[in-house]
């Protein structure tokens, strides 16, 4: 029982990082119905930006978080502006290919600059607390706390503010909404910025929790978050969070029972299974538009 509870905390930690990244995939899909394959690599760059920042000036955790989120937000906007916007009315396949290409360019450029995995320095004093036999570290509390906090801010932003209303409107019908005077391009750019900044925050948190940062992270971790977004129903924010926690739990349980090399096999098989039986994910609504 105690073992299970301990694993549940681990699953919560992994799940909340996945959730932050998955939200980025889902937001972009919701607004543009486009899979932003480069998002995993933006997440990876978040961790590298943090390394770079600490190497230049040793800043406390909160400052690093804000700076990294800002930097990845700018990066996300730039990718949208120069790679995706020119293709907005092109066939959807062109956009997916471009996204895949952008991701690989980012990944391999990082690999060219830093061929080896790097250790992440400690940003916080990591204290271990004992709660009736359960071990919880400061890091775990911070990771889960920051993730849940950011998700609540996002939820508020989407549901209660005029920006959120505009974003939902652009998602449902871009052409009409533009006619009604909503600046669709700006809304899309801000959506990308928010998604990328959440990805960057996740990169920083992931780097702190599993203190090795490598260029391959965008695929090994970032694409898992994409799997989570699809499981939950891509385009649906709450679905992304649900999918992320399910995937986190499945992965932690897999590693507890089987050798860790089976993790990818199980996650991607789960994805395939969900797509076969619930093609729009757990919370996604079937769309009527022609694909």
């Amino acid at each position: 029982m105690k073992y299970l509870a301990q694993q549940a905390i681990n699953a919560l930690q992994l799940g909340s990082i996945y959730a932050l990244i998955a939200l980025g995939y889902s937001m972009v899909y919701g607004v543009l119905t486009m899979i932003n394959f480069a998002h995993g690599d933006v997440f990876m760059l978040g961790a590298f930006f943090c390394l770079l920042l600490i190497a230049i000036v040793p800043v406390p955790f909160w400052v690093a978080l804000i700076v990294v989120m800002g930097a990845t937000a700018i990066l996300g906007t730039l990718i949208e502006r120069f790679a995706y916007r020119p293709l907005r009315d092109a066939p959807r396949v062109s956009a997916i290919i471009t996204a895949l290409g952008c991701g690989l360019v980012i990944q391999n450029t990082t690999l060219g600059i830093s061929p080896y995995a790097r250790p992440m320095p400690h940003l916080l004093d990591n204290v271990t607390y004992q709660f009736g036999g359960l071990t919880v570290t400061t890091l775990q509390i911070i990771i889960i706390g920051v993730s849940v906090g950011l998700m609540m801010v996002l939820d508020f932003l989407i549901r209660k503010t005029s920006f959120g209303m505009a974003m939902r409107a652009v998602a449902s019908d871009r052409a009409t909404v533009s006619l009604l005077g909503v600046p669709a391009n700006e809304i899309i750019a801000i959506t990308f910025a928010i998604g990328a900044s959440l990805g960057g925050a996740a990169g920083l948190l992931y780097g702190m929790a599993y203190p090795v940062v490598s260029a391959g992270m965008g695929i090994t971790v970032g694409w898992k978050a994409f799997v989570a977004a699809v499981i939950g129903g891509i385009g649906n924010m709450r679905g992304a969070v649900l999918g992320a926690f399910i995937l986190g739990a499945v992965e932690v349980m897999t590693v507890a029972v089987l050798p860790s090399t089976y993790r990818d096999l199980i996650s991607y098989s789960l994805l395939l299974l969900i797509l076969v039986f619930k093609p729009h994910g757990l919370l996604g609504k079937p769309t009527l538009h022609k694909a």
Binding site: P115, T261, L272
Partner: protein, 331 residues
Amino acid sequence: MSGMNDWTKSRYLPSVVLFAGLIVTAILPATGLLNDYLQFVLVSVAINAILCVSLNLVNGWMGEFSVGHAGFMALGAYASAILTVKLFPAAPDILLFPIAVLIGGCVAGLAGIPVGILSFKTRGDYLAIITLAFLMIVKSGLENIPYTGGPRGLLGIPRLTTVAWAYFWCVVAFWVIRNLVYSKYGRGIAAIREDEIAAEAMGVNTRTAKLVAFVTSSFFAGVAGALFAHQLQFINPSSFDILKSTEILVMVYLGGVASLGGSLLGAGVVTILTQCLQPLGTWRMVVLPALLVLLMLFRPAGIMGYRDWNWLKPRIFTKPRLEKSKQAPLQ
């Protein structure tokens, strides 16, 4: 207009030229005119051309987006290598190799069936996700099989892929896919690309067409994988990752979608470019994806998109239009 005596119009000409090519490729390495490196490049061009034309069937003619081609390739490579390394290491190569390549293709073709079935209902983004999941499952599945060396891979594969074999399979791939896309089925496949619902309404059996396209495409990916394994003499699961798929995608979209000549051109240009960029090391892997992005932005259909050279088309599609004076007068 000499009609019967014009040898360039002979119906036997293509067969004669292709057979002569086979003899030349079989003899050339023995004459010493081609050094090992040139042979390696030629075989690579042929393997990549097979990969490119087979992916083009799904991504070009059918207009879907598959990123799982490297997965099918891996299945073909592993299946054939198990035959030549583990099961029948003593069998005579001349008999074993064609059978191994064929079985490699069949294993990959069988794996194409479930993906094809899944494509009945899902299209576009979701089909891309399914092929991505397929690729990841194949890769991590192979990493967990101790029989084939797990993540370390299979070593000591005999070097059986000669220039002649690569040429032979390349011709077979182009011949089969040409005859397929210019046939009734092929028209159906192209109709799915233009408008699936309209195609179905016009009587195209879209399910059969999709299945035929996926199985043919994955069969030849398997064949290419088998040739690849017996060229490099070493395979491991990470040789067949998403970057390998991207490399094939670059060839398809550079050469031209839905084009046989484009496939040949794309495979040739990308293979030679990769060889020229060898000194760049890791940075080489930045160039290909960047090229892909630029192509999508500026020329999404590639150099020869939706067009072909006349010599690659069946004769019936290359007939010159009748001149005005020769047209039958209207009643």
